[in-house]
């Protein structure tokens, strides 16, 4: 400022002050922030870059080492004679084809060169010609067209000059016209294709040998070959630092998890330990303190799951949760913050991810925790109060069917009216044609009504099935007057767990008055009837029966650690303290029997008077199930899943006597409960029974149609967390303080997992600190679960979400094919605890199998049959008949229909038609059978064949009838296999053949010997010394035997059985000995 004087500049606060310092500082700061922003952009927001660098380092080091080890192993292998032999063969084969190979390759090289020249030339020529032809096609007039066509001709005449290489290395020059050019070009193409296929043909043998050599190396070394490892290494070397993303276009799913989890799909087994080892050994990867990276680099622990759910189609987050798109931090990627609704499942709950799509499956492969959760949910009676789609929905379905029936009846009435109307219109129609139309209309409606009748019939059948399927978790409390000692009831109600630690009955938080009131109501509300008196039985025999008939598959005896048996049903250790002997006998004989039938229409139990009124005997069972008053289908069975074991009355008495001895204290020592007859108390009790929802699990008079009192849980996992009532614990949960005031190990627990876990551990927890009148307190009882069971249930609930909650709905597992049959079947298999006795899944153990009594050689023979592959084994029609009546007899019920030698009894479950259908389809689907099953045509045996077959059948090296039952009681004392007479009806021929050839492959450890036949050309021949007839016979021995078995008559079997020596020990010893002999000779 030239006119300013110096003194002014120094005095004026604005003009006189320089700001350069401040400006410089601010500019530098801004520049620094720019640098920071750039760093943040490249690294701060992209932490995966560092992960990837580290991974490449570690992985390369790991692969280097693995390659060395593998190379050493392969080196050692190369010295073996087999390898050398193979190598030599390979070299010889290569030498043998070398001249021809060279010839072909030389010719191919020339052709390749010539083609390169010709292709360009021909493409140009063709382009010009086709363009001209097009012009001719659209030419304005005939004259012009002709002119253009002339030009085409001229172009085609060429010449097209080509300089083509010839074998001696020189070039020949050819002037082509268009046609010759084309033909030469196509000829060369064809020749090339021919030579290539010729080359492959010539090399065929070498390729085979090569494959064989490689296979030999792979078979004899562990893991990947050096070549494969080197491939991985070169991939790692060429690694591109970049976001690794799965994008499933159909569902618009984007998962970038593999940007950090780089080892997930690597074909090697990589664990945290692997990486630590690699890092600690130095090499290229220096040890790092950040062990989180090691956890990130592991390979997927269950490759089978990845195979079923290909990540390219399913991504990662639909199963695991988390935010697949987020890459800026671990917390964000895992979605473990309050604004991401679908956080990564915790390690112990990760199977919740399975439930999301597999909600319709009762049993999900690879998900033991989830399966346990589902099992508990049903078994512990959660479903009694909480509706859950798919679980025990017979009552709802029954209502649905009832509505459908009403709708169809209305429709029928409508049609009837319309028919009348049409006929009247026809009568009044002015002309014949119109009248005919009306009459035809009436006729059609009549036919449609007949269709409706068919539908109605099906619906009635369904209703009948559903009524039979309706089960309750707890016992029928209408019968307690006949069943229980009254003084035991209050003891039980006070704390069921104290009396029977493993019971499924939960503990309600009742005060003493409530206990008295409920006991009084139940006692007074029970039916007055009694059961017939029974004489004492033999407890020793009862014990033996209890332990061998299969009771232990569901029930256990003994407390705590010493309990032996299944946990599916009650532990019977103290049953003698509570039960009434006469009732117990009847129950053992047939648990489904009721004192009175229940009529759903009148909503009451029918009395003998109801029957007497109509002059009918008081008789009700599955054959007599119509209500005498209104013809409605009655509930004639108790709602228990316990089946009938088809015992005799004597057996039942023995078992009951044995069970009555199971007690820890004298029943007389229980305090008398006089208040049970107090009327006022009972009134109060009635209110409480409704309040606590007892009828959710028990059948109680007057409460038969009571609904569920709890929240529906079908989609509880997707309920907004704000709707879960943490009550006064909300702030505790948000700050990671447990209800007891201690810090939560997981930190904040204000989420679904936290809510469920606390609620299950203590259902009243969210009443903590609340001031409420008793009846407004939380009603959920204490479910008697261990921490592991809480985890299982939590996992199940966490995965129970609305379809598409955090994952695309396309992924829902709702199959319509065979897999649906499997899905449906599991619900029934688990409901009746079939797996208590049978193995159905590969790798699964039945309860009986694990009991000490079934571990001895004799015990193993007593194990119930393995059902893996049963669908391929059994004729489905037969299976349906068998499931309906496992005795396979209307009169002789005290036996097993197929395996009389088994002590354990296949019970009669009184399955409904629908259940039987579902089970048959289930087994068929499990064994990949098509439906319906049509038996293949039988080829009858000729006389010669029959003779040969008979010789084989009774061959001393493998006398079939030594182990297989014949129905003769004396013979059958020592057998351990089913009767052949059943085969024709029961078995599928193809399976029978496969079974005879290698039974141990189907059922490891089976008593049936393997190696009975050996392969000879294209047929199977008996392995033992051949009888004379068989030596001449040119057919397949195994097939012959199978046909013979399917033709076997009772008479023939009886005749042959006489020839087979039978001795108690000899039978099994000889049988197994022979098996080993045969295997050896084979």
């Amino acid at each position: 400022m030239p006119e300013e004087t110096p003194e002014r500049l120094s005095d004026d606060p604005i003009v006189g002050r320089s700001m350069s310092g401040a400006l410089l500082a601010a500019s530098l700061l801004l520049l620094a922030s720019l640098a920071w922003a750039l760093y943040d952009e490249f690294y701060g927001l992209r932490p995966w870059k560092l992960y990837q660098q580290r991974f490449v380092q570690l992985y390369s080091a790991y692969l280097d080492k693995a390659i060395q080890e593998q190379a050493a192993a392969e080196e050692a292998l190369a010295q073996t004679p087999t390898y050398q032999g193979l190598l030599q063969q390979l070299q010889e084969a290569q030498a043998a084809i070398a001249p021809r190979e060279k010839e072909i390759n030389d010719e191919l090289a020339i052709i390749e060169q010539r083609l390169t020249v010709l292709t360009t030339l021909f493409a140009n020529a063709r382009g010009e010609v086709t363009a001209l032809v097009y012009e001719a096609e659209v030419a304005a007039g005939e004259e012009q067209r002709q002119r253009i066509l002339d030009r085409v001709e001229k172009v085609k005449r060429g010449p097209f000059r080509a300089r083509l290489p010839v074998p001696d290395g020189t070039l020949e020059t050819i002037d082509y016209n268009y046609d010759r050019l084309e033909s030469d070009y196509t000829h060369l193409q064809a020749r090339k294709a021919f030579l290539l296929s010729e080359l492959a043909r010539v090399r065929e043998h070498v390729t085979e040998l090569n494959t064989e050599l490689r296979a030999y190396v792979e078979e004899n070394t562990l893991g990947l070959s050096t070549a494969q490892l080197k491939g991985l290494l070169s991939k790692a070397k060429k690694f591109d630092i970049d976001v690794k993303q799965i994008h499933v276009i159909e569902t618009d799913l984007v998962d970038r998890c593999e940007s950090c989890h780089l080892g997930i799909r690597e074909p090697l087994e990589l664990t945290g330990a692997t990486w630590e080892e690699v890092a600690s050994q130095g090499g290229k990867g220096k040890p790092s303190a950040d062990d989180r990276q090691y956890a990130a680099f592991v390979s997927h622990p269950n490759r089978e799951l990845l195979r079923i759910h290909d990540p390219e189609r399913f991504g990662c987050s639909p199963c695991h949760g988390g935010n697949g798109r987020a890459t800026s931090s671990v917390v964000k990627g895992h979605g473990r913050h309050k604004y991401w609704l679908w956080p990564l499942h915790y390690r112990e709950n990760f199977e919740a991810g399975c439930q999301q799509c597999h909600a319709r499956d009762m049993v999900v492969e690879h998900a033991p925790v989830l399966n346990r959760g589902k099992e508990l949910f049903r078994l512990r009676g959660c479903v009694g109060c909480h509706r859950f789609e798919g679980f025990d929905d017979e009552r709802e379905r029954l209502q649905g069917v009832g509505m459908a029936i009403r709708r169809i009846n209305l429709q029928k009435a409508d049609f009837e009216r319309e028919i009348k109307l049409s006929i009247r219109r026809g009568d009044e129609a002015p002309d014949n044609e119109q009248a005919q139309r009306y009459y035809a209309q009436a006729e059609n409606l009549r036919v449609r009504i007949s269709g409706l009748d068919a539908e109605l019939e099906q619906l009635r059948l369904q209703a009948r099935s559903l009524l039979r399927e309706e089960k309750r978790i707890g016992p029928n409390l209408k019968e307690i007057r006949a069943k229980l000692r009254p003084e035991w009831i209050p003891v039980w109600l006070r704390s069921p767990h104290a009396w029977r630690p493993t019971t499924k009955m939960p503990r309600f938080r009742l005060d003493e008055t409530e206990v008295h009131a409920i006991s009084a109501f139940l006692w007074q509300n029970a039916l007055p009837g009694s059961v017939p008196r029974q004489p004492e039985g033999n407890p020793a025999r009862g014990k033996q029966l209890f332990e061998t008939r299969g009771c232990l598959a569901c029930h256990a005896l003994g407390e705590g650690e010493s309990a032996v048996g299944g946990t599916f049903a009650a532990n019977l250790s103290r049953i003698g303290e509570k039960a009434n002997y006469d009732y117990l006998v009847r129950w053992t004989y047939n648990p489904r029997q009721r004192l009175r039938p229940y009529c759903p229409l009148e909503k009451r139990d029918l009395t003998p008077e109801d029957y007497a009124k109509h002059g009918l005997p008081f008789e009700f069972d599955l054959e007599h199930s119509r209500c005498p008053n209104d013809g409605e289908e009655l509930q004639v069975q108790s709602g228990t899943v316990m089946p009938s074991l088809r015992l005799t009355w004597e057996d039942a008495r023995d078992i009951a006597t044995f069970l009555m001895g199971q007690r820890q204290q004298d029943p007389a020592s229980y305090t008398k409960a006089d208040y049970l007859d107090n009327r006022e108390l009972a009134e109060q009790g009635k209110f409480l029974v409704r309040h606590y929802g007892c009828a959710g699990c028990h059948e109680i008079g007057g409460f038969e149609t009571e609904g569920r009192i709890g929240t529906e849980l079908t989609a509880e996992g997707s309920k907004p967390v704000e709707r879960l009532d943490f009550a006064l614990l909300t702030e505790h949960a948000k700050r990671g303080i447990l209800p007891d005031g201690s810090p939560s190990p997981r930190g904040k627990w204000y989420d679904h997992k936290g809510f469920f876990e606390q609620k299950l551990a203590n259902p009243g927890v969210y009443d903590q600190g609340k001031i409420k009148p008793p009846l407004e307190r939380l009603r959920m009882p204490e479910p008697n679960v261990t921490p592991e069971e809480i985890t299982a249930l939590t996992t199940f609930l966490l995965g129970s979400v609305d379809p598409g909650y955090g994952f695309p709905t396309d992924y829902l597992y709702h199959p319509e094919d065979r897999r649906k049959d499997i899905q449906d079947g599991w619900w029934i298999v688990t409901r009746y605890n079939c797996m208590g006795c049978h193995q159905i899944r590969i790798g699964q153990e039945s309860v009986l199998m694990t009991l000490p009594a079934y571990q001895t050689p004799e015990g193993k023979e007593q194990r119930p049959p393995v059902l893996i592959g049963a669908g391929a084994r059994l004729n489905p029609d037969w299976l349906a008949r068998f499931l309906e009546n496992p005795a396979l007899s209307k009169t002789d019920l005290n036996r097993n229909g197929v395996r009389p030698y088994l002590q354990a009894r296949m019970p009669t479950f009184n399955l409904s038609l629908r259940e039987i259908q579902t089970l048959v389809r289930f087994f068929a689907a499990l064994s990949s059978q098509t439906q319906p099953y049509i038996p293949p045509p039988v080829r009858p045996l000729t006389d010669v064949e029959r003779t040969v077959a008979r010789q084989l059948f009774t061959h001393p090296a493998a006398p079939c009838l030594k182990c297989h039952a014949t129905g003769d009681p004396v013979h059958d004392r020592n057998v351990n296999a089913p009767n052949f007479l059943l085969a024709r009806e029961r078995l599928q021929p193809a399976w029978t053949l496969r079974w005879m050839l290698d039974p141990a492959r189907m059922i490891p450890g089976t008593a049936m010997p393997s190696g009975l036949f050996r392969r000879e050309g294209d047929r199977w021949v008996f392995s033992g010394p051949l009888p004379p007839g068989a030596q001449v016979y040119k057919g397949d021995h195994a097939e012959l035997l199978q046909r013979y078995i399917f033709e076997l008559t009772a008479e023939e079997q009886r005749r042959l059985a006489g020839r087979v020596p039978v001795g108690p020990a000899a039978a099994s010893a000889a049988g197994s000995g022979m098996a080993t002999n045969l295997v050896k000779s084979h």
Binding site: E4, E7, R8, S10, D11, D12, P13, I14, V15, M19, A22, L23, A26, S27, L29, L30, S33, L34, W36, A37, D40, G44, K338, Y339, W340, L341, P720, E722, R723, A727, L728, T730, E731, R735
Partner: protein, 317 residues
């Protein structure tokens, strides 16, 4: 004292501007006023010194010997503004690097958040909704605020105070700003941020925002309160309307008188008053009285639980 709760509120990324506001607004108010008072002292010196008044022809402006009489925009203003721009850009850069946008979960129409708060700059409006009908708090008042700001050049008859800080030369303008912006707008934003918790209930700082909290409060209209309830037929719209209208009219009268008292307080204010035409003065009166109505209504509601003063079938005040 729930420190955790307090920390939750102050550390929420959403509330950063408000926490900053808490310190920056008082600081700049103080800083500006300090400068203003300093200048006022200089002007007073100038007025007292006739000699200097001669050399310095504009005695209403702060000036000292040795100071430049005029300061040019370029470079003296521009360089300061440039510096400010640099510093603000720097702050924004650091802010945007360190804090992410406070995005929450996907919106769920079946589940609204609680408390549901407007963006911080609208919290004053949201707070007003507690005291007035939505139509008045949400439409009428904002419109009046905007119109009020627009008319300032037309009603401001005071020519002093351009280009420098001063309090003495613009007392009414500065006090109106302090009251209307700092006292009402900023305060309401702070209330909305720190005080209003779940259910838009009043939580003192340090009180836990408990979603289960229950309070018993009954708000009643003025005419439902004794002694008015004894006189006014509670079912007659006409009686209620006339009563409420009369109360509001009375308020306007009394408040107008009070505002007038301010305008005739001393010689200086009277000078400003005299310069205004009738329309200008009435406009000023209307806006002042209406602005004053807000805290009056707030106090009525918060202290006496009065819901509305004037109830009609069409609007409530």
């Amino acid at each position: 004292m729930d420190w955790h709760q307090l920390w939750e509120i102050t550390s929420a990324p959403d509330n950063i501007p408000i926490v900053a506001l808490l310190f920056l607004v008082p600081f700049y108010a103080w800083y500006g006023l300090r400068q203003a008072l300093e200048n006022d002292r200089l002007v007073a010196q100038l007025e007292k010194d006739p000699a200097m008044a001669k050399t310095h022809h504009r005695k209403t402006q702060p000036w000292k010997p040795g100071w430049s009489r005029e300061v040019h925009v370029w470079p003296y203003l521009m360089r300061i503004e440039f510096l400010a721009a640099l510093i603000v850009t720097f702050i924004l850069m650091v802010w945007s690097i360190t804090l992410n946008a406070p995005l929450e979960e996907p919106a769920n129409p079946n589940l609204t958040m609680n408390p549901a708060k407007a963006p911080w700059y609208f919290l004053g409006l949201q707070e007003m909704l507690v005291y007035f009908d939505p139509w008045i708090a949400g439409v009428l008042m904002p419109t009046l605020i905007i119109i009020g700001l627009m008319v300032i050049p037309y009603i401001d008859t005071n020519p002093l105070g351009n280009g420098y800080y001063t309090f003495r030369q613009r007392p009414i303008a500065i006090l109106s700003f302090c009251f209307g912006f700092l006292g009402l707008w900023v305060l309401m934003i702070i209330i909305g941020t720190f005080i209003r918790g779940p259910g838009w209930m009043w939580f003192w700082p340090g009180q836990t925002w408990d979603h289960n909290r229950l309070v018993f409060e009954v708000n009643r209209d003025l005419h439902e309160i004794w002694p008015f309830s004894a006189v006014i037929p509670q079912t007659s719209w006409l009686a209620k309307g006339l009563f409420g209208g009369a109360v509001v009219a009375l308020y306007y009268l009394l408040a107008g008188l009070a505002v007038h008292k301010v305008f005739v307080l001393n010689e200086f204010t009277r000078k400003i008053y005299r310069r205004m035409g009738l329309v200008q003065y009435l406009t000023v009166q209307f806006f002042f009285v209406t602005m004053l109505g807000l805290p009056v209504k707030m106090l009525l509601r918060l202290l006496f639980r009065i819901k509305y003063v004037w109830v009609t079938p069409w609007f409530n005040i």
